[in-house]
């Protein structure tokens, strides 16, 4: 990059250069200045976006005293793993982690299956009531989640699945937006392959399971990403669906840490370590599928 820039505009401008730039009204210099400004802005913004996370990781290795006295430095003066030891050896943190993992795995698998099933039916199968179901889906999508806090508790309580894994997992399987994504995807792939299989005598579920689903990989990955992130980061549902400590998830547990349970004083290293660990799985997920997440959008113009 430096090479391209310097060949185009040597600074300071020599006399001959000056003449040329008179005939071409100084645009290259301005372009370079503009470009440098753009990089400067971008770099500052990038630092603002990344620095909090670096500070977080650094602080989780500091002592309580140092976290308060020196909140910015990225290298602890005295390295301390006390926060992590306490989390893993002397707290319910491992239980929280386990619960989050269980819920996330089941919710993700369930959503992938049910969303693609319903999406396929809405996209491909001709049956009475299809349009009604679809309209209902759109209506349901517009209900804001927070409004459902009390209602969900009422139903979960009424049917006796309060404070159970079932009550934590099953209500989270509702995902109208996911059905919508799958439906759109199935509509975008040609039907000819399936029809061939049908002529060969395969039943509807067989066609769906062994022909359609393998073709739907890109959309399924999208559902996996969204479900994983959604259920791992879910808080409000677990607040209203559980109360016992054995069923506490990471989000709920760390939220209780934040409001001062389990600790005297501020204990920032402990809290930040907990928050950092709970970020790791989604971060890993993000980096694995990074190309996909960033390109879901520009797939249409790929050449």
């Amino acid at each position: 990059m430096t090479a391209t820039v310097s060949t185009k505009t040597p600074t300071p401008p020599s006399p001959s250069r000056r003449l040329r730039s008179l005939s071409r009204p100084q645009l290259p210099t301005r372009a370079v200045a503009g470009r440098s400004l753009m990089y400067a802005i971008l770099t500052v913004l990038a630092i603002i976006y990344i620095a909090p996370f670096l500070v977080q990781v650094a602080t989780s290795f500091k002592t309580d005293v140092e976290a308060a006295s020196n909140p910015i430095s990225l290298i602890p003066q005295t390295w301390s793993t006390a926060a992590y030891e306490k989390l893993f050896l002397n707290s319910d943190f491992p239980v929280w982690f386990k619960n989050s993992a269980i819920v996330t795995i089941f919710v993700t698998l369930g959503r992938v299956f049910f969303n693609s099933l319903a999406g396929y039916a809405l996209a491909r199968l001709q049956f009475r009531g299809r349009t009604v179901i679809f309209a209902g889906l759109i209506a349901v999508m517009s209900v804001p989640g927070v409004v459902l806090l009390i209602p969900k508790f009422l139903v979960i309580n009424q049917i006796g699945i309060y404070d159970t894994y079932v009550g934590m997992i099953v209500p989270l399987l509702t995902d109208a937006a996911g059905v919508f994504i799958m439906k759109n995807f199935f509509e975008s792939i040609p039907a000819s392959v399936e029809e061939q299989a049908r002529i060969d005598g395969a039943g509807t579920f067989r066609v769906f399971w062994s022909i359609v689903l393998p073709m739907a990989r890109p959309a399924l990955i999208t559902i996996v990403i969204l479900s994983f992130q959604g259920s791992w980061n879910e808080l409000s549902h677990f607040i209203v669906a559980t109360q016992s400590p054995e069923l506490t998830t990471l989000t709920k547990g760390v939220a209780s840490l934040a409001s001062g349970e389990l600790s005297q004083g501020t204990q920032y290293p402990l809290k930040l370590a907990a928050a950092a660990i709970m970020t790791i799985p989604v971060a890993v997920m993000f980096f694995i599928f990074q190309k996909r997440i960033m390109n879901t959008t520009d797939g249409a113009v790929k050449e």
Binding site: T174, A275, V301
Partner: protein, 402 residues
Amino acid sequence: MSKPARTSRRSGIRGGEAASGWLFTAPMIILLGMFLVIPVLMALWVSFSDWGGRGSPFGGNVKFVGFDNYSTLLSGGGLAEQDFGTALRNNAWYVVLVVPIQTALSLLLAVLVNRQILRGRGFFRTSFYFPSVTSSVAITVLWLFLFSSTGAVNKLLSFIGITGPNWFNDPSGILHNFLQLFGVTQGPAALTDGSFLGVSWWDWLAGPSVAMTAFILMAVFTTSGTFMLLFIAALQNLSGEVTEAAMMDGANGWQRFWKVTLPQLRPTLFTVLTLGLIGSWQVFDQIYTGTKGAPGKTTLTPAFLSYQSAFNNQEWGQGAAIAFILFVIIVFFTLFQRWVLRERSVSNRRMRPYLSVANGATANVVAASALTGAGSGSPGTDSPGSGSDPDSHAPDTTGGTR
């Protein structure tokens, strides 16, 4: 109506489709019915009842109380009304600040990061998007540390000689604080005497509290990345030709952005504003994790108040009523915003400059593509620069037309 004919013709291969159609959608319908439709109906009943949280809300001793819960909140004159008003005030300021800022910032990031010539596009995109994947709980914990009285933000402020506030413990409204700089500490009687929902007009105009401001910054920080992706997608679907034509007509970068690019982004802008509006009326996780409404109830939001009334104070009817009022508010603002941003038929006088731009565009497309050779380059490829100097033709063509 060719459909019935087609169905009957295909009934050989498509037999039993109706059955499998229902079978395939049944799990989702049952789930949505069970955990979305029925709950909403149940909660609607509860909002009209005096259920106290014990036993079933359909039990014999639960009475229908009409609009009592709603009127307690909207005109009861008591603490419930005042809390509700305060929560609405807090969240309204949150929306007013978060929605425009996050939209503008995400658009700015998208425009910056979308440049073909930009090196390290992937790096910048990743860093701007990363905060969006983390959970609101983790971010809130981090924010509580960064904005604590001895935290990183105040440390940074101290470098430039500013004594930072005690963010999450400071209930003073930022507009009131601003007015205080000019010696205004008491509102005019016209504002302090009248009140709405138990909160005086002067307090409605307090602005978000310093504590809420920290949450506002957090919302902008975490959502701008997601919306940036939406804008990037939209930008990449724009044809470069219109922009190039505008360039040929001598429009500078600023004009090109406002008059050519932005109008074409309208649908995405609409999506982002709608999602932002819906999302920012539902502040719950951050408040639950962080402040629980403190300091001085200035971070109380309707969503959290609804939870608190029901689960902590056992005022289930009121909690449900708050949720439904919030629902109405969200629907109202979404529709209102649709109406404001609707496609208007533009009067001829206002249309004229745009028409000339549009005509110029079509006329110049041929010339533009001829001049630049391959047309609009290769969007989507991650090879920045790719050896050539792509920016050189841009200024040159502009100069050429002049």
